[in-house]
Amino acid sequence: MATALPAPPMTAGKSVSPTWARFRDAFRRHPMALVGGAILVAMVLVAILAPWLATIDPQAVSPAKRLRPPSAAYWFGTDMLGRDVYSRVVYGARVSLIVGLAVAVVSTLLGVAIGLVTGYIRWLDAIVMRVMDGLMSIPSVLLAIALMALTRASIGNVIAAITLAEVPRVVRLVRSLVLTLREQTYVEAAIAAGTTLPRILARHILPNIVAPLLVQGTYVCGSAMITEAILSFIGAGTPPNIPSWGNIMAEGRSLFQIAGYLILFPGICLSLTVLAVNLLGDGMRDALDPRLARRM
C-alpha cells in the first residue's frame, strides 16, 4: 500500500504533509469529490440553521391542513397531522448528520484502540479477532435491531447500536495496517533504539494510519446514516417524536400511494447526503492510493 511510505522529514514551516498535498491534488483531479464536499457543507449548514430555515415549528400540528400536497405555502406538503414536511425534513438533517458523524468518530476511536492493541499483543489478537469475526457475521441491521429491541429508543442508543456493528470493520483495517507497519525498517530501527511501545505507537504507527482511517470513516458515516434511516423506518430507531428522515418516511408508509411526497422528499435528502459522503470518500481514497484510483 502507498500509505506504508514513511513521511519525509518536515523542513520549512510552510511545507504541507504529503498526505494533505495528495488530498489537495486529488480534489483537483476529482471534481466529483468537490461536488460531494459542497453538498455536504450545504447539508451541515441546513442542519445548523434549521431553526431559521424551517418555516414553522416542525412539531406544530394543524389537523385542518392535513395531507396538503406541496405548494407555495407548504413546499414539501403536509403530513397526516398537518405538520409542515419541509420544516420536518430540515430538522431531520440534524439527526442523520449527528448519527453519521458520531458513529464514524466513536467507531474509529474504538477501532483504533482495539486494533493497535491486537496488532501488537499476539495472544490477545487471536481472541479479539474471533470476537470481531463473530460480530461481523451478524448482518449489521439485525445486530442493531436486536440491541434496539432491548433498550429504550433514543438517539444515543441508535448511535451505540450502529457503532457496535461498525467497529469490527475498523478494527480489521487498523490491525492489517499495523501488521504491515510493524515490519517497516524505521519501526524496527525504533525498536532497536529502545523506544517504548506507547511511543512507537504514537510516533510511528498512528500518523501512518490516519489517512486510510479518514477514508474508512467517511464510508462508515454514509453507511451509518442509511442504517439509522432503516432502523427508524421499521420502528427500531430514533424515537418517533423526533423528526428524522427515517421517521418521516415511516409515517408516510401507509399513505405513500396518495401522498408520495411524504416519502420522496426525505428520501431524496438522505440519498443526496449519503452520495455526497461517498463521493468525498472516493476522492480521498484515490488521493491515498493512485494505483487504486485507476481501477476503481
Binding site: G134, I230, N278, R295
Partner: protein
C-alpha cells in the same frame, strides 16, 4: 486440501459459537432490566415478573446459556412471547417469500453485474465505463427503501404495469409469483449489483494488464474468448469473495424490502416482532440469518479451488 477444509470448518464452528454467544448475551449487556423493556411502558409488575420467568432471567448466566444452547442443539429457537408459538414454526411459515426474494435477487444481480463489470473493464475510460461507475456510486447511495418507493410510484402507481405490493405463492402460478417479485428484487439488488460490478471491473483491470492476456491477444484469440476464458476466470476469486460478503447486504435489505412491498416473509416477522418487543423472535431470526451468512461464505471459500487451480491448499 482435506486439512484446509477441516481447518475452515473448525473456524466456522468457532465463529458460529461466538455469534450464538453474542446474540444470547445482548440480553445481559444492555443496561436496565430487559424484561421491563420487553413488557413495555404500561406493564404491571406481574407482567414483568412473568417475562422474567418466561425467559428464565432469574437463573445464573451460565445456567441460562447452557439451557439455551441445549435447546438450540435440538433445533429449538425458543418461544414467541406474543403468540406463544415456537420461533422455528413462525420462521417456517414465513420462509418462502424471503427465500424467493433473496434467490431471485441473487440470480438477477449476478447475471447483471458480471457482464457490466467485464464490459466496463474492457472499455475502460470510455463513456460506457463512466456510466457504469456512476451507476455504481449511485447504487451505493440510494437506500433500498427510497429506491423501492420510487419504483412502486413509477411502475405500479403511475404506469400500472406491476402490482404495488403483496406476494403470491409459487405453487399458485409462477407468472404471478414472478410479477410480484420483480420490483422488490430490483430495489433489493441495486446496491448488490453496484458492489459486484465495482469489484468485477477492478479485478478484471488487474488481470487484463497481465502478460498472459497480452499473449492470448497476440496469438489472435477472439476478444470475447480472451475476456471470458482468460481474464474473467482469473479475476473470479475477489468477485466470488464479494458475492459472499455482499449476502449480508441482501439479508439486511430484505427486511426493509419486505416491509415496503408487504411481503409476508421473515423480515416482516422481524419488524412485527420489534413493534411487540418479542425478543425471542428477533434472537432466532438474527441467529438464523447469521448462520446463513457464515455458511454462504464457507461455501465461497471452499469453491476457490474450483476457479483457481493454483490454489491447492
Amino acid at each position: 486440501m482435506i486439512r484446509y477444509i477441516l481447518r475452515r470448518l473448525l473456524s466456522t464452528v468457532v465463529v458460529m459459537a461466538v455469534v450464538a454467544f453474542v446474540v444470547f448475551s445482548l440480553l445481559y449487556l444492555t443496561p436496565g432490566d430487559p424484561a421491563a423493556i420487553i413488557a413495555g411502558d404500561i406493564a404491571t409488575d406481574a407482567d414483568i415478573h412473568r417475562i422474567h420467568e418466561r425467559l428464565g432471567l432469574d437463573d445464573p448466566f451460565a445456567v441460562q446459556f447452557g439451557r439455551w444452547v441445549r435447546a438450540l442443539a435440538h433445533g429449538d429457537l425458543g418461544t414467541s412471547i406474543f403468540t406463544n408459538l415456537p420461533v422455528t414454526q413462525l420462521i417456517g411459515q414465513r420462509i418462502e417469500p424471503t427465500v424467493s426474494l433473496t434467490l431471485c435477487t441473487l440470480v438477477v444481480s449476478i447475471a447483471l453485474a458480471l457482464p457490466l463489470g467485464v464490459l466496463a473493464a474492457a472499455k475502460a475510460g470510455t463513456w460506457l465505463d463512466r456510466a457504469v461507475m456512476a451507476f455504481s456510486v449511485l447504487g451505493f447511495s440510494v437506500p433500498v427503501f427510497v429506491l423501492a418507493y420510487i419504483l412502486i410510484l413509477t411502475f405500479s402507481v403511475h404506469l400500472d404495469w406491476l402490482p404495488v405490493q403483496g406476494y403470491r405463492n409459487f405453487r399458485d402460478g409462477a407468472w404471478e409469483w414472478l410479477r410480484h417479485l420483480i420490483l422488490p428484487s430490483i430495489a433489493l439488488g441495486t446496491v448488490y449489483v453496484a458492489l459486484i460490478t465495482r469489484i468485477t471491473r477492478a479485478s478484471m483491470l488487474d488481470v487484463l494488464a497481465q502478460d498472459y492476456v497480452r499473449t492470448a491477444q497476440a496469438k489472435g484469440l477472439a476478444p470475447g474468448d480472451v475476456l471470458i476464458g482468460h481474464a474473467l476466470k482469473n479475476a473470479a476469486v475477489p468477485v466470488m469473495t464479494i458475492i459472499g460478503i455482499g449476502v449480508a447486504l441482501l439479508i439486511s435489505g430484505a427486511i426493509v424490502t419486505e416491509t415496503v412491498f408487504a411481503l409476508p416473509g421473515i423480515g416482516r416477522l422481524t419488524v412485527d416482532a420489534i413493534l411487540r418487543r418479542d425478543y425471542p423472535i428477533i434472537q432466532g431470526v438474527t441467529l438464523l440469518f447469521s448462520a446463513v451468512y457464515v455458511l454462504v461464505n464457507l461455501v465461497v471459500d471452499l469453491s476457490y479451488a474450483l476457479f483457481d487451480p493454483r490454489i491447492t491448499y
